[in-house]
Symmetry: C2
Subunit: 409 residues, 2 copies
């Protein structure tokens, strides 16, 4: 009745999910082992080690939550937020709004400062707001894919540390593509994603947190009946974390030496993450960031030559996402559909006020390579000309090829 | 630094995760497409159709939550429970305790009736408790892997429907291995698992719910800022669901025609689920249940011949899990470790009061086949003899082979 799965091959140049390295795809076909098999707990431990390197941290806790990126954000926030806590959320795009949303769900008093989409905050602006609202937590997006901007974090982190405010960062879109220094930037809790610069399919949300977070959640520990010790049952604090699935104190006991059964780890996804991390570390973090910047430049040169206008403040551009304004006289989504239908190339639209106004081209992880940059430049030119948009013809590819011929990574 | 992933091949006879059909493993290597690619939304729609068939329901809503099985349980419970709601949880094993745990986290008043582990409730006992505590919701485990028992549901479902009580069922361990009739049994919301009788890796939690549940959650709808319409923002009910990730009203808008962005669907896992469901439907539900019962019988014949004693009430045995008492004079976990180390065969222990007292042999999905049954019988005999346990030697395999030679599925 149903046929064997048959999907087209795509060139994916969105800000996620992006193309998966064939080596990562391949390990997903590995026959599974049981969740407490020593062969599997070894894989779990290796993934934790590799995540620490990726996050540039000495934190003990670095593991994935079994869910998509926002599951990691929710796990982190619901584990640290006590109802009534004041959380300061500086918003400069859609994913800042998501942080507000999750904080509200868990009963925080959310204080918001906003920046026009396409720009980011001066650290001093955030620090000033901290002084005003005296938050328990600052929650901040590092890389805002909705606008293609990247917020600098270090000064904010240092100010938080000084004032004993918890600093929680959503680095879903930057991790593995741009520098993220958890310890040096004084980040207490950080959430990453798999389907962007790590080039692993969506489905896990790696995160890390330090002792400050650990102590906070230890006070709220609740172990479920049936696997708790008598003492744990008696000691349960009524301020327990409101989610079982996202309770980091329980996840910690599953990933730690106690191996207390919580969920059944998503075996094949963990294999994929292990391979994805292995490839990141094999390439080297610095090399990988350089590669992203290198291809970003080729793309920008080509788009500039074509005569398209970039969106947003260029000085704080996210290196893994390039936003361009949709030229007059053409329907944004129609261009995207034609790119997909005719060329098998996917680029993205954006959300809310920017929908239909900009296109976003992601150059993340395995998708971020020469043939893809050249493919999208050529295809976009073809489609724009087809729709009668006035652009400079025949110059984008020439400029990009010259760049690639002359410049090394 | 890190080597290519290299894991041993195992014969997995636990109650999950179990061996994955090679055809399912294979589709996991399929290159991915974007989440709003028409090629992908088609896969999403197909999965919904197939899930309806698996669940034997006409419900519109049948889709996976992106997380392990308990994420589906939490999504269902947190979406239907208003703080203060009375939830009746009849407990006959560890996973009943998990239902209590999740209900408590979301502020329900939980009423519990308990049954000695190894037995199940008479429907009349549950209905009597319903009359006493007048619950808003009854939450019940269909197949309790911790004890290997299966609870009959139909009469309870009919009583709930009559009294306008919501009936929520955890069928994680039975779905695809034993009959589950969502509509006929008056189940309002049901959660399944992938890593058991569907033989798909852990990481998705398929669920279904009917109009009664849908109406309940529609009243609590909250759409996040940044993607909500003005009207939706104004209309937000303060009784909103306490989790963003698990808010079924948002998941519904992602799986439904509105395709409102929520998470990024776990592409490769959905490919795996599609293939797993395709194989289940190709085999046929009735045939599949028969196959599980057929091999269960071979296993029981062999264990009986060996002289091992089964645990629990045989009349309500879960066909996909066989529990045996650990004989005197042998350390339960040592036997398991030797089985794993020497034979590469994994069987399970149990939880809490049953840990070390029983072994659990799962015969689920792809793991449930002749060579595996024979392998575990032969290996278990060898290991028990090695540890000096007095059993009937040389009879288990003979009896099982004879059964297989004489009886057809």
């Amino acid at each position: 009745m149903y046929q064997d799965l048959s999907t087209p091959l795509r060139t994916i140049l969105t800000p996620g999910p992006v193309e998966v390295d064939p080596r990562v795809l391949r390990v997903m076909s590995t026959p599974i082992v049981g969740q407490f098999d020593p062969a599997f707990t070894k894989v779990m431990n290796e993934v934790m080690e590799m995540l620490r390197q990726l996050f540039q941290t000495k934190n003990q806790w670095a593991f994935p939550v079994d869910g998509t990126s926002r599951s990691g954000i929710e796990a982190m926030l619901c584990s640290v937020i006590h109802p009534g806590d004041v959380v300061l959320v500086p918003v400069y795009g859609r994913f800042g709004n998501l942080l507000i949303e999750i904080c509200e769900r868990y009963g925080a008093t959310v204080k918001v400062i906003e920046k026009e989409w396409g720009r980011v905050f001066e650290p001093a602006e955030i620090i000033e707001a901290m002084n005003e609202v005296n938050p328990d937590i600052v929650a901040l997006v590092h890389a805002e894919t909705s606008t293609g901007r990247m917020q600098s974090l270090k000064e904010v982190g240092e100010a938080c540390r000084k004032q004993e405010i918890l600093f929680i960062v959503d680095a879903v879109a930057s991790i593995g593509g741009a520098d993220v220094k958890v310890d040096e930037w004084c980040i207490d809790g950080l959430i990453a994603g798999t389907q962007k610069c790590l080039s692993v399919p969506s489905g896990l949300a790696p995160l890390t947190y330090n002792k400050r977070v650990e102590e906070r959640i230890a006070k709220r520990k609740k172990v479920e009946r049936g696997i708790a010790t008598e003492e744990e049952l008696k000691a349960t604090n009524q301020q327990f974390i409101r989610s079982n699935y996202f309770d980091l104190s329980m996840l910690q006991d599953y990933w730690g030496p106690r191996r207390l059964n919580h969920h059944t780890e998503a075996t094949s996804m963990l294999y994929a993450l292990r391979e994805g991390l292995r490839l990141v570390l094999e390439e080297g973090l610095e090399e990988r960031f350089k590669r992203h910047a290198y291809h970003e430049k080729a793309l920008m040169i080509g788009l500039d030559e074509m005569g398209l206008e970039r969106f947003g403040d260029d000085t704080v551009k996210l290196p893994t996402v390039t936003c361009i304004k949709v030229p007059e006289g053409v329907e944004a989504d129609e261009v995207r559909h034609t790119l997909l239908e005719m060329f098998g190339i996917e680029i993205a639209s954006s959300f809310g006020p920017l929908h239909g106004k900009i296109w976003r081209i992601g150059t993340m992880g395995y998708s971020c390579r020469r043939e893809n940059i050249l493919a999208v430049l050529g295809a976009l030119e073809g489609v724009l000309v087809y729709y009668g948009v006035s652009i400079n013809k025949g110059r984008a590819l020439e400029a990009a090829i010259r760049y690639y011929a002359e410049e090394q990574t």
